[in-house]
Protein backbone atom coordinates (compact mmCIF):
# COMPACT_ATOMS: atom_id res chain seq x y z
CA UNK A 1 0.00 0.00 0.00
CA UNK A 2 1.44 3.37 -1.00
CA UNK A 3 1.96 5.88 1.77
CA UNK A 4 -0.43 8.35 0.15
CA UNK A 5 -3.23 5.84 0.04
CA UNK A 6 -2.49 4.88 3.60
CA UNK A 7 -2.63 8.44 4.89
CA UNK A 8 -5.93 9.00 3.06
CA UNK A 9 -7.30 5.87 4.66
CA UNK A 10 -6.27 6.95 8.14
CA UNK A 11 -7.71 10.40 7.56
CA UNK A 12 -11.11 9.08 6.50
CA UNK A 13 -11.06 6.53 9.29
CA UNK A 14 -10.75 9.32 11.87
CA UNK A 15 -13.21 11.79 10.39
CA UNK A 16 -15.50 8.97 9.21
CA UNK A 17 -17.97 9.39 12.08
CA UNK A 18 -18.43 13.03 11.11
CA UNK A 19 -19.14 12.18 7.47
CA UNK A 20 -21.60 9.41 8.36
CA UNK A 21 -23.35 11.66 10.88
CA UNK A 22 -23.43 14.52 8.40
CA UNK A 23 -25.11 12.34 5.77
CA UNK A 24 -27.52 10.62 8.15
CA UNK A 25 -28.52 13.49 10.44
CA UNK A 26 -28.01 16.56 8.28
CA UNK A 27 -27.96 16.08 4.51
CA UNK A 28 -30.64 13.40 4.16
CA UNK A 29 -33.01 15.14 6.60
CA UNK A 30 -32.36 18.47 4.85
CA UNK A 31 -33.27 17.05 1.45
CA UNK A 32 -36.31 15.35 2.95
CA UNK A 33 -37.39 18.58 4.56
CA UNK A 34 -36.98 20.42 1.25
CA UNK A 35 -39.23 17.81 -0.39
CA UNK A 36 -41.81 17.96 2.42
CA UNK A 37 -41.93 21.73 2.10
CA UNK A 38 -43.59 21.25 -1.30
CA UNK A 39 -46.16 18.81 0.04
CA UNK A 40 -49.26 18.62 2.15
CA UNK A 41 -48.11 16.24 4.86
CA UNK A 42 -49.96 15.32 8.03
CA UNK A 43 -48.53 12.90 10.51
CA UNK A 44 -50.68 9.92 9.52
CA UNK A 45 -50.94 10.20 5.75
CA UNK A 46 -48.43 10.27 2.91
CA UNK A 47 -47.08 13.56 1.60
CA UNK A 48 -49.02 14.97 -1.38
CA UNK A 49 -47.14 17.24 -3.81
CA UNK A 50 -48.67 20.72 -3.88
CA UNK A 51 -45.86 22.79 -5.40
CA UNK A 52 -45.28 26.19 -3.87
CA UNK A 53 -48.61 26.30 -2.09
CA UNK A 54 -47.11 26.22 1.43
CA UNK A 55 -44.82 29.10 0.65
CA UNK A 56 -47.61 31.12 -0.95
CA UNK A 57 -50.00 30.44 1.91
CA UNK A 58 -47.39 31.59 4.42
CA UNK A 59 -47.11 35.08 3.04
CA UNK A 60 -50.66 35.61 1.81
CA UNK A 61 -53.11 33.64 3.95
CA UNK A 62 -51.50 33.19 7.33
CA UNK A 63 -51.54 36.36 9.46
CA UNK A 64 -50.16 34.37 12.41
CA UNK A 65 -47.08 33.57 10.35
CA UNK A 66 -46.53 37.20 9.36
CA UNK A 67 -47.00 38.16 12.99
CA UNK A 68 -44.52 35.56 14.22
CA UNK A 69 -42.00 36.81 11.67
CA UNK A 70 -42.53 40.36 12.90
CA UNK A 71 -42.23 39.38 16.55
CA UNK A 72 -39.02 37.45 15.85
CA UNK A 73 -37.47 40.31 13.88
CA UNK A 74 -38.16 42.71 16.76
CA UNK A 75 -36.76 40.16 19.20
CA UNK A 76 -33.56 39.71 17.18
CA UNK A 77 -32.91 43.31 16.17
CA UNK A 78 -33.67 44.78 19.58
CA UNK A 79 -32.16 41.99 21.65
CA UNK A 80 -28.85 41.25 19.93
CA UNK A 81 -27.52 44.84 19.56
CA UNK A 82 -28.60 45.74 23.10
CA UNK A 83 -27.02 42.63 24.52
CA UNK A 84 -23.73 43.16 22.66
CA UNK A 85 -23.58 46.87 23.53
CA UNK A 86 -24.18 46.00 27.13
CA UNK A 87 -21.56 43.25 27.05
CA UNK A 88 -18.99 45.64 25.59
CA UNK A 89 -19.77 48.34 28.13
CA UNK A 90 -19.37 45.96 31.06
CA UNK A 91 -16.24 44.39 29.54
CA UNK A 92 -14.66 47.86 29.33
CA UNK A 93 -15.64 48.56 32.92
CA UNK A 94 -13.98 45.31 33.98
CA UNK A 95 -10.85 45.79 31.90
CA UNK A 96 -8.93 47.39 34.77
CA UNK A 97 -6.14 46.01 36.88
CA UNK A 98 -8.13 45.33 40.02
CA UNK A 99 -7.99 42.07 41.88
CA UNK A 100 -11.74 42.04 42.41
CA UNK A 101 -12.33 41.92 38.65
CA UNK A 102 -12.11 38.12 38.62
CA UNK A 103 -15.03 38.02 41.02
CA UNK A 104 -17.10 40.53 39.11
CA UNK A 105 -16.44 38.64 35.91
CA UNK A 106 -17.78 35.47 37.51
CA UNK A 107 -20.86 37.21 38.92
CA UNK A 108 -21.70 38.88 35.61
CA UNK A 109 -21.28 35.61 33.79
CA UNK A 110 -23.70 33.66 36.01
CA UNK A 111 -26.92 34.75 34.22
CA UNK A 112 -25.47 33.50 30.94
CA UNK A 113 -24.51 30.23 32.56
CA UNK A 114 -28.00 29.41 33.77
CA UNK A 115 -29.93 31.43 31.19
CA UNK A 116 -30.89 28.54 28.92
CA UNK A 117 -32.54 26.53 31.65
CA UNK A 118 -36.22 25.99 32.26
CA UNK A 119 -35.67 27.08 35.87
CA UNK A 120 -34.63 30.57 34.76
CA UNK A 121 -37.54 30.88 32.34
CA UNK A 122 -39.87 29.98 35.23
CA UNK A 123 -38.10 32.53 37.42
CA UNK A 124 -38.46 35.20 34.73
CA UNK A 125 -42.15 34.43 34.36
CA UNK A 126 -42.62 35.01 38.06
CA UNK A 127 -40.57 38.15 38.60
CA UNK A 128 -42.65 39.80 35.85
CA UNK A 129 -45.94 38.60 37.37
CA UNK A 130 -48.55 41.16 38.43
CA UNK A 131 -47.23 41.07 42.01
CA UNK A 132 -43.67 40.23 41.02
CA UNK A 133 -40.54 42.09 42.01
CA UNK A 134 -40.31 44.02 38.74
CA UNK A 135 -43.64 45.68 39.35
CA UNK A 136 -42.73 46.27 43.00
CA UNK A 137 -39.55 48.03 41.83
CA UNK A 138 -41.52 50.10 39.31
CA UNK A 139 -43.95 51.16 42.03
CA UNK A 140 -41.17 52.29 44.36
CA UNK A 141 -39.86 54.43 41.51
CA UNK A 142 -43.32 55.93 41.15
CA UNK A 143 -44.11 54.20 37.84
CA UNK A 144 -47.41 52.41 37.29
CA UNK A 145 -47.06 48.66 37.36
CA UNK A 146 -47.30 46.93 34.00
CA UNK A 147 -49.36 43.87 33.21
CA UNK A 148 -46.55 42.04 31.43
CA UNK A 149 -48.74 39.12 30.42
CA UNK A 150 -51.68 41.28 29.38
CA UNK A 151 -50.17 43.07 26.45
CA UNK A 152 -48.28 41.54 23.48
CA UNK A 153 -45.58 44.22 23.29
CA UNK A 154 -44.86 44.11 27.02
CA UNK A 155 -44.64 40.31 26.90
CA UNK A 156 -42.19 40.45 24.00
CA UNK A 157 -40.00 42.94 25.86
CA UNK A 158 -40.00 40.59 28.81
CA UNK A 159 -38.32 38.07 26.50
CA UNK A 160 -35.91 40.69 25.14
CA UNK A 161 -34.90 41.66 28.69
CA UNK A 162 -34.22 38.01 29.42
CA UNK A 163 -31.88 37.85 26.42
CA UNK A 164 -30.07 41.05 27.44
CA UNK A 165 -29.73 39.76 30.99
CA UNK A 166 -27.57 36.95 29.58
CA UNK A 167 -24.83 39.22 28.24
CA UNK A 168 -22.15 37.36 30.21
CA UNK A 169 -20.64 35.08 27.59
CA UNK A 170 -20.24 37.92 25.06
CA UNK A 171 -18.70 39.98 27.84
CA UNK A 172 -16.09 37.27 28.47
CA UNK A 173 -15.23 37.17 24.77
CA UNK A 174 -14.92 40.96 24.59
CA UNK A 175 -12.85 41.03 27.74
CA UNK A 176 -10.39 38.58 26.19
CA UNK A 177 -10.34 40.78 23.07
CA UNK A 178 -9.73 43.96 25.06
CA UNK A 179 -6.85 42.36 26.96
CA UNK A 180 -5.13 41.57 23.66
CA UNK A 181 -5.01 45.23 22.59
CA UNK A 182 -1.47 46.48 23.36
CA UNK A 183 -1.46 49.18 26.07
CA UNK A 184 1.10 51.08 24.00
CA UNK A 185 -1.65 52.00 21.49
CA UNK A 186 -3.55 53.87 24.15
CA UNK A 187 -0.40 55.46 25.54
CA UNK A 188 0.56 56.75 22.11
CA UNK A 189 -2.97 58.10 21.64
CA UNK A 190 -2.83 59.86 25.03
CA UNK A 191 0.47 61.47 24.08
CA UNK A 192 -1.23 62.78 20.95
CA UNK A 193 -3.99 64.21 23.14
CA UNK A 194 -6.81 61.83 22.18
CA UNK A 195 -9.84 61.83 24.44
CA UNK A 196 -11.82 58.82 25.65
CA UNK A 197 -14.22 58.75 22.70
CA UNK A 198 -11.47 59.10 20.13
CA UNK A 199 -9.64 56.20 21.73
CA UNK A 200 -12.82 54.15 21.76
CA UNK A 201 -13.71 54.74 18.10
CA UNK A 202 -10.17 54.73 16.70
CA UNK A 203 -8.55 51.96 18.76
CA UNK A 204 -10.97 49.84 20.78
CA UNK A 205 -13.70 49.30 18.19
CA UNK A 206 -11.42 48.63 15.19
CA UNK A 207 -9.24 46.25 17.20
CA UNK A 208 -12.30 44.44 18.48
CA UNK A 209 -14.14 44.31 15.16
CA UNK A 210 -13.25 40.71 14.16
CA UNK A 211 -14.52 39.43 17.51
CA UNK A 212 -17.56 41.64 17.14
CA UNK A 213 -18.31 40.21 13.70
CA UNK A 214 -18.16 36.65 14.93
CA UNK A 215 -20.44 37.50 17.84
CA UNK A 216 -22.98 39.33 15.73
CA UNK A 217 -23.27 36.40 13.34
CA UNK A 218 -23.55 33.66 15.95
CA UNK A 219 -25.91 35.59 18.19
CA UNK A 220 -28.18 36.67 15.37
CA UNK A 221 -28.52 33.08 14.26
CA UNK A 222 -29.14 31.74 17.73
CA UNK A 223 -31.58 34.56 18.52
CA UNK A 224 -33.57 33.60 15.44
CA UNK A 225 -33.85 30.08 16.80
CA UNK A 226 -34.85 31.02 20.35
CA UNK A 227 -37.35 28.53 21.66
CA UNK A 228 -37.16 27.67 25.37
CA UNK A 229 -37.97 31.05 26.99
CA UNK A 230 -40.89 31.73 24.65
CA UNK A 231 -42.19 28.20 25.16
CA UNK A 232 -41.98 28.33 28.96
CA UNK A 233 -42.93 31.93 29.57
CA UNK A 234 -46.08 31.68 27.45
CA UNK A 235 -46.73 28.10 28.63
CA UNK A 236 -46.41 26.91 25.05
CA UNK A 237 -49.08 29.24 23.66
CA UNK A 238 -46.98 32.10 22.30
CA UNK A 239 -49.49 34.45 23.93
CA UNK A 240 -50.77 36.96 24.83
CA UNK A 241 -52.31 37.48 21.39
CA UNK A 242 -49.33 35.73 19.78
CA UNK A 243 -47.06 38.44 21.18
CA UNK A 244 -44.35 35.94 22.10
CA UNK A 245 -44.95 33.54 19.22
CA UNK A 246 -41.33 33.42 18.10
CA UNK A 247 -40.59 31.75 14.77
CA UNK A 248 -39.28 28.50 16.28
CA UNK A 249 -42.26 28.23 18.58
CA UNK A 250 -44.74 28.71 15.74
CA UNK A 251 -42.82 26.20 13.63
CA UNK A 252 -42.92 23.71 16.49
CA UNK A 253 -46.65 24.23 16.93
CA UNK A 254 -47.36 23.83 13.22
CA UNK A 255 -45.30 20.65 13.07
CA UNK A 256 -46.09 18.93 16.33
CA UNK A 257 -49.34 20.42 17.56
CA UNK A 258 -51.31 20.88 14.32
CA UNK A 259 -49.29 18.19 12.48
CA UNK A 260 -48.82 20.30 9.36
CA UNK A 261 -45.42 18.75 8.70
CA UNK A 262 -45.22 20.06 5.14
CA UNK A 263 -46.06 23.59 6.17
CA UNK A 264 -43.60 23.48 9.08
CA UNK A 265 -40.86 22.24 6.72
CA UNK A 266 -41.53 25.16 4.39
CA UNK A 267 -41.26 27.48 7.41
CA UNK A 268 -37.91 25.90 8.28
CA UNK A 269 -36.58 26.54 4.78
CA UNK A 270 -37.67 30.16 4.84
CA UNK A 271 -35.86 30.42 8.16
CA UNK A 272 -32.74 28.92 6.62
CA UNK A 273 -32.89 31.41 3.75
CA UNK A 274 -33.34 34.33 6.15
CA UNK A 275 -30.44 33.18 8.33
CA UNK A 276 -28.33 32.69 5.20
CA UNK A 277 -29.13 36.15 3.87
CA UNK A 278 -28.40 37.78 7.23
CA UNK A 279 -25.08 35.98 7.52
CA UNK A 280 -24.27 36.98 3.95
CA UNK A 281 -25.07 40.64 4.58
CA UNK A 282 -22.95 40.69 7.71
CA UNK A 283 -20.05 39.04 5.86
CA UNK A 284 -20.30 41.25 2.79
CA UNK A 285 -20.48 44.50 4.70
CA UNK A 286 -17.80 43.39 7.12
CA UNK A 287 -14.96 44.52 4.87
CA UNK A 288 -16.10 48.09 5.51
CA UNK A 289 -15.99 47.81 9.24
CA UNK A 290 -13.88 44.84 10.26
CA UNK A 291 -10.23 45.61 10.74
CA UNK A 292 -7.69 42.81 10.59
CA UNK A 293 -4.38 43.59 12.14
CA UNK A 294 -2.30 42.06 9.37
CA UNK A 295 -3.70 44.58 6.87
CA UNK A 296 -1.33 47.29 5.75
CA UNK A 297 1.70 45.62 7.22
Amino acid sequence: MSSRLRSNLWGYLFIGPFIIGFLAFTIIPMLASLYFSFTDYGLFDDPVWIGFENYIKMFTEDPRYINSLKVTIIYVFAGVPLRLAFALLVAMLLNVGSRAVGWYRTLYYLPSLIGGSVAVAIMWRNIFGDDGIVNIALKTMGIDSIRWFGEPTAALWMLIFLSIWQFGSSMLIFLAGLKSIPASFYEAASVDGANFFQKFFRITLPMLSPVLLFNIIMQTISAFMTFVPAFIISKGTGGPLDGTLLYSLYLFKQGFEYFNMGYASAMAWVMLVIVGILTGIIFLTSKYWVHYESEGK
Binding site: N8, G11, F22, A32, L113, S169, M261
Partner: protein, 279 residues
Protein backbone atom coordinates in the same frame (compact mmCIF):
# COMPACT_ATOMS: atom_id res chain seq x y z
CA UNK B 1 -2.08 56.27 45.31
CA UNK B 2 -4.08 57.89 48.10
CA UNK B 3 -5.74 60.15 45.57
CA UNK B 4 -7.08 57.19 43.63
CA UNK B 5 -8.73 55.43 46.57
CA UNK B 6 -12.05 57.30 46.45
CA UNK B 7 -12.34 56.60 42.73
CA UNK B 8 -11.78 52.88 43.28
CA UNK B 9 -14.30 52.92 46.07
CA UNK B 10 -16.88 54.44 43.74
CA UNK B 11 -15.96 51.92 41.07
CA UNK B 12 -16.58 49.00 43.41
CA UNK B 13 -19.87 50.47 44.60
CA UNK B 14 -21.02 50.83 41.00
CA UNK B 15 -19.77 47.53 39.61
CA UNK B 16 -20.57 45.52 42.73
CA UNK B 17 -23.98 47.10 43.15
CA UNK B 18 -24.80 46.33 39.56
CA UNK B 19 -23.81 42.69 40.05
CA UNK B 20 -26.23 42.43 42.98
CA UNK B 21 -29.01 43.99 40.90
CA UNK B 22 -28.31 41.55 38.08
CA UNK B 23 -28.40 38.51 40.36
CA UNK B 24 -31.34 39.75 42.42
CA UNK B 25 -33.89 37.57 40.54
CA UNK B 26 -31.87 34.44 41.31
CA UNK B 27 -31.50 35.42 44.96
CA UNK B 28 -35.23 36.11 45.07
CA UNK B 29 -36.01 32.70 43.56
CA UNK B 30 -33.75 31.04 46.12
CA UNK B 31 -35.24 32.86 49.09
CA UNK B 32 -38.82 32.39 47.86
CA UNK B 33 -38.32 28.65 47.69
CA UNK B 34 -38.15 28.71 51.51
CA UNK B 35 -41.34 30.73 51.93
CA UNK B 36 -44.78 29.22 52.35
CA UNK B 37 -46.31 28.81 48.92
CA UNK B 38 -49.21 31.15 49.63
CA UNK B 39 -46.89 33.89 50.92
CA UNK B 40 -44.50 34.11 47.96
CA UNK B 41 -46.28 36.89 46.12
CA UNK B 42 -47.75 38.54 49.19
CA UNK B 43 -44.26 39.11 50.61
CA UNK B 44 -42.50 39.29 47.24
CA UNK B 45 -40.63 42.45 48.26
CA UNK B 46 -38.99 40.79 51.26
CA UNK B 47 -35.86 38.68 51.15
CA UNK B 48 -36.48 37.03 54.53
CA UNK B 49 -38.67 33.94 54.52
CA UNK B 50 -40.94 34.22 57.51
CA UNK B 51 -41.82 31.56 58.48
CA UNK B 52 -38.93 29.58 57.03
CA UNK B 53 -40.12 26.27 55.58
CA UNK B 54 -38.69 23.26 53.78
CA UNK B 55 -42.14 22.04 52.84
CA UNK B 56 -41.73 23.18 49.22
CA UNK B 57 -38.73 20.94 48.81
CA UNK B 58 -40.56 17.98 50.33
CA UNK B 59 -43.58 18.54 48.08
CA UNK B 60 -41.57 19.17 44.93
CA UNK B 61 -39.44 16.11 45.54
CA UNK B 62 -42.60 13.95 45.39
CA UNK B 63 -42.79 14.82 41.68
CA UNK B 64 -45.95 13.88 39.80
CA UNK B 65 -47.62 11.00 38.01
CA UNK B 66 -46.28 8.64 40.67
CA UNK B 67 -42.66 9.45 39.86
CA UNK B 68 -40.48 11.36 42.32
CA UNK B 69 -38.16 14.14 41.29
CA UNK B 70 -35.28 11.76 42.02
CA UNK B 71 -36.38 9.68 39.01
CA UNK B 72 -36.15 12.72 36.75
CA UNK B 73 -32.69 13.54 38.07
CA UNK B 74 -31.58 9.96 37.52
CA UNK B 75 -32.94 10.04 33.93
CA UNK B 76 -31.09 13.26 33.24
CA UNK B 77 -27.84 11.87 34.61
CA UNK B 78 -28.14 8.83 32.33
CA UNK B 79 -28.80 11.21 29.42
CA UNK B 80 -25.74 13.28 30.34
CA UNK B 81 -23.48 10.22 30.61
CA UNK B 82 -24.43 9.01 27.13
CA UNK B 83 -23.90 12.47 25.67
CA UNK B 84 -20.50 12.72 27.37
CA UNK B 85 -19.40 9.34 26.02
CA UNK B 86 -20.60 10.24 22.55
CA UNK B 87 -19.02 13.68 22.36
CA UNK B 88 -15.71 12.82 24.00
CA UNK B 89 -15.04 9.75 21.86
CA UNK B 90 -16.27 11.04 18.51
CA UNK B 91 -15.06 14.63 18.74
CA UNK B 92 -11.51 13.73 19.81
CA UNK B 93 -11.16 11.21 16.93
CA UNK B 94 -12.57 13.60 14.34
CA UNK B 95 -10.56 16.56 15.61
CA UNK B 96 -7.34 14.55 15.46
CA UNK B 97 -8.13 13.65 11.86
CA UNK B 98 -8.69 17.27 10.87
CA UNK B 99 -5.77 18.69 12.82
CA UNK B 100 -3.05 16.13 12.14
CA UNK B 101 -3.76 13.87 9.15
CA UNK B 102 -3.26 14.74 5.50
CA UNK B 103 -5.94 13.43 3.17
CA UNK B 104 -7.73 14.43 0.02
CA UNK B 105 -10.78 16.58 0.76
CA UNK B 106 -9.71 17.66 4.22
CA UNK B 107 -10.34 21.34 3.53
CA UNK B 108 -13.72 20.57 2.00
CA UNK B 109 -14.97 18.52 4.95
CA UNK B 110 -13.64 21.03 7.45
CA UNK B 111 -15.57 23.78 5.70
CA UNK B 112 -18.71 21.61 5.67
CA UNK B 113 -18.30 21.12 9.39
CA UNK B 114 -18.06 24.85 10.02
CA UNK B 115 -21.18 25.45 7.91
CA UNK B 116 -23.19 22.93 9.92
CA UNK B 117 -22.34 25.05 12.96
CA UNK B 118 -24.70 27.70 11.61
CA UNK B 119 -27.45 25.39 10.43
CA UNK B 120 -30.77 25.91 12.23
CA UNK B 121 -31.90 22.69 13.89
CA UNK B 122 -35.44 23.40 12.66
CA UNK B 123 -34.43 22.45 9.12
CA UNK B 124 -33.67 18.86 10.10
CA UNK B 125 -36.06 18.56 13.03
CA UNK B 126 -39.11 17.15 11.23
CA UNK B 127 -37.39 14.61 8.94
CA UNK B 128 -35.23 13.46 11.86
CA UNK B 129 -38.40 12.92 13.87
CA UNK B 130 -39.91 10.88 11.05
CA UNK B 131 -36.74 8.80 10.62
CA UNK B 132 -36.49 8.07 14.34
CA UNK B 133 -40.17 7.20 14.54
CA UNK B 134 -39.75 4.76 11.58
CA UNK B 135 -36.88 3.18 13.51
CA UNK B 136 -39.19 2.78 16.50
CA UNK B 137 -36.97 5.02 18.64
CA UNK B 138 -39.71 7.33 19.94
CA UNK B 139 -40.09 7.61 23.71
CA UNK B 140 -36.45 6.63 24.25
CA UNK B 141 -33.15 8.44 24.63
CA UNK B 142 -31.81 7.01 21.36
CA UNK B 143 -32.83 9.89 19.05
CA UNK B 144 -31.13 12.27 21.47
CA UNK B 145 -27.89 10.42 22.20
CA UNK B 146 -27.09 8.44 19.03
CA UNK B 147 -26.24 11.57 16.97
CA UNK B 148 -23.75 12.55 19.70
CA UNK B 149 -21.56 9.62 18.63
CA UNK B 150 -21.02 11.28 15.25
CA UNK B 151 -19.43 14.46 16.56
CA UNK B 152 -20.54 18.00 17.33
CA UNK B 153 -19.10 20.84 15.21
CA UNK B 154 -18.48 23.22 18.14
CA UNK B 155 -16.40 20.72 20.08
CA UNK B 156 -14.58 19.40 17.02
CA UNK B 157 -13.57 22.97 16.23
CA UNK B 158 -12.47 23.60 19.82
CA UNK B 159 -10.35 20.43 19.88
CA UNK B 160 -8.84 21.08 16.43
CA UNK B 161 -7.69 24.51 17.61
CA UNK B 162 -6.20 22.94 20.70
CA UNK B 163 -4.39 20.11 18.89
CA UNK B 164 -2.83 22.61 16.47
CA UNK B 165 -0.95 24.19 19.38
CA UNK B 166 0.79 20.86 20.18
CA UNK B 167 4.27 20.67 18.54
CA UNK B 168 4.40 18.22 15.65
CA UNK B 169 7.86 17.06 16.80
CA UNK B 170 6.07 14.92 19.38
CA UNK B 171 4.23 13.02 16.62
CA UNK B 172 7.42 12.65 14.61
CA UNK B 173 9.36 11.32 17.59
CA UNK B 174 6.63 8.75 18.19
CA UNK B 175 6.67 7.73 14.52
CA UNK B 176 10.42 7.13 14.72
CA UNK B 177 9.77 4.96 17.76
CA UNK B 178 7.48 2.88 15.55
CA UNK B 179 4.05 4.17 16.62
CA UNK B 180 1.24 3.99 14.05
CA UNK B 181 -1.31 6.77 13.52
CA UNK B 182 -3.76 5.42 16.06
CA UNK B 183 -1.04 5.05 18.67
CA UNK B 184 0.02 8.67 18.11
CA UNK B 185 -3.56 9.73 18.72
CA UNK B 186 -4.01 7.54 21.74
CA UNK B 187 -0.63 7.83 23.44
CA UNK B 188 0.66 11.26 22.40
CA UNK B 189 -2.23 13.57 21.61
CA UNK B 190 -5.03 12.33 23.84
CA UNK B 191 -3.18 12.89 27.15
CA UNK B 192 -2.25 16.41 26.04
CA UNK B 193 -5.75 17.55 25.12
CA UNK B 194 -7.32 16.76 28.50
CA UNK B 195 -8.01 20.46 29.26
CA UNK B 196 -9.94 20.88 25.99
CA UNK B 197 -11.77 17.62 26.66
CA UNK B 198 -12.72 19.01 30.06
CA UNK B 199 -14.23 22.07 28.37
CA UNK B 200 -16.10 19.76 25.97
CA UNK B 201 -17.41 17.69 28.87
CA UNK B 202 -18.55 20.70 30.87
CA UNK B 203 -20.45 22.27 28.00
CA UNK B 204 -21.94 18.93 27.01
CA UNK B 205 -23.21 18.65 30.56
CA UNK B 206 -24.74 22.15 30.49
CA UNK B 207 -26.43 21.76 27.14
CA UNK B 208 -27.77 18.32 27.96
CA UNK B 209 -28.97 19.33 31.42
CA UNK B 210 -30.86 22.31 29.94
CA UNK B 211 -32.10 20.60 26.79
CA UNK B 212 -35.87 21.00 26.58
CA UNK B 213 -36.80 20.76 22.91
CA UNK B 214 -35.23 17.30 22.46
CA UNK B 215 -37.02 15.68 25.42
CA UNK B 216 -40.28 17.48 24.54
CA UNK B 217 -40.11 15.96 21.07
CA UNK B 218 -38.98 12.47 21.95
CA UNK B 219 -39.95 11.56 25.53
CA UNK B 220 -43.61 11.17 26.30
CA UNK B 221 -44.01 8.98 29.36
CA UNK B 222 -43.37 10.61 32.75
CA UNK B 223 -41.09 7.80 33.94
CA UNK B 224 -38.58 8.90 31.27
CA UNK B 225 -38.77 12.65 31.82
CA UNK B 226 -35.63 14.74 32.32
CA UNK B 227 -35.48 17.57 34.86
CA UNK B 228 -36.24 20.27 32.29
CA UNK B 229 -39.30 18.32 31.14
CA UNK B 230 -40.36 17.82 34.75
CA UNK B 231 -40.14 21.56 35.46
CA UNK B 232 -42.17 22.22 32.36
CA UNK B 233 -44.82 19.84 33.66
CA UNK B 234 -44.85 21.63 37.03
CA UNK B 235 -45.59 24.80 35.12
CA UNK B 236 -48.41 23.23 33.09
CA UNK B 237 -49.98 21.95 36.31
CA UNK B 238 -49.68 25.40 37.86
CA UNK B 239 -53.47 25.62 38.29
CA UNK B 240 -53.10 24.69 41.94
CA UNK B 241 -50.68 27.61 42.25
CA UNK B 242 -48.10 25.56 44.06
CA UNK B 243 -45.31 27.99 43.18
CA UNK B 244 -43.30 26.95 46.19
CA UNK B 245 -42.67 23.41 44.97
CA UNK B 246 -41.89 24.67 41.48
CA UNK B 247 -39.41 27.21 42.82
CA UNK B 248 -37.80 24.62 45.07
CA UNK B 249 -37.28 22.17 42.21
CA UNK B 250 -35.99 25.00 39.99
CA UNK B 251 -33.33 25.63 42.61
CA UNK B 252 -32.55 21.89 42.77
CA UNK B 253 -31.89 21.85 39.00
CA UNK B 254 -29.67 24.94 39.20
CA UNK B 255 -27.43 23.63 41.98
CA UNK B 256 -25.40 21.15 39.86
CA UNK B 257 -24.86 23.86 37.23
CA UNK B 258 -23.42 26.23 39.82
CA UNK B 259 -21.34 23.56 41.55
CA UNK B 260 -19.70 22.42 38.32
CA UNK B 261 -19.07 26.01 37.30
CA UNK B 262 -17.31 26.89 40.53
CA UNK B 263 -15.15 23.77 40.45
CA UNK B 264 -14.15 24.03 36.80
CA UNK B 265 -14.42 27.76 36.27
CA UNK B 266 -11.08 27.99 34.50
CA UNK B 267 -12.15 25.62 31.70
CA UNK B 268 -15.49 27.34 31.24
CA UNK B 269 -14.02 30.81 30.97
CA UNK B 270 -11.24 29.63 28.66
CA UNK B 271 -13.68 27.73 26.48
CA UNK B 272 -15.81 30.80 25.97
CA UNK B 273 -13.05 33.33 25.48
CA UNK B 274 -11.10 31.22 22.99
CA UNK B 275 -13.86 29.82 20.78
CA UNK B 276 -16.85 31.99 21.46
CA UNK B 277 -18.82 29.01 22.74
CA UNK B 278 -22.16 30.15 24.04
CA UNK B 279 -22.59 29.19 27.66
Amino acid sequence: MTKRRPRYFLYHILVGGFAVLLLYPVIWLFVSSFKESGDIFITAGSLIPNPFTLLNYAQGWEGFGGYGFGTFIKNTIVFVIWMLLGHLISCSLIAFGFARLKFVGRGFWFMIMLVTLMLPYEVVMIPQYIIFSELGWLNSLKPLVVPAFFGHPFFIFLLVQFIRTIPRELDEAATIDGANTFQIFYKVILPLIVPALATTAIFTFYWTWDNLLGPVLYLNSPEKYTVSMALNMFLSNETVSNWGAMFAMSIVTLVPVFVIFFIFQRYVVEGISTTGLKG
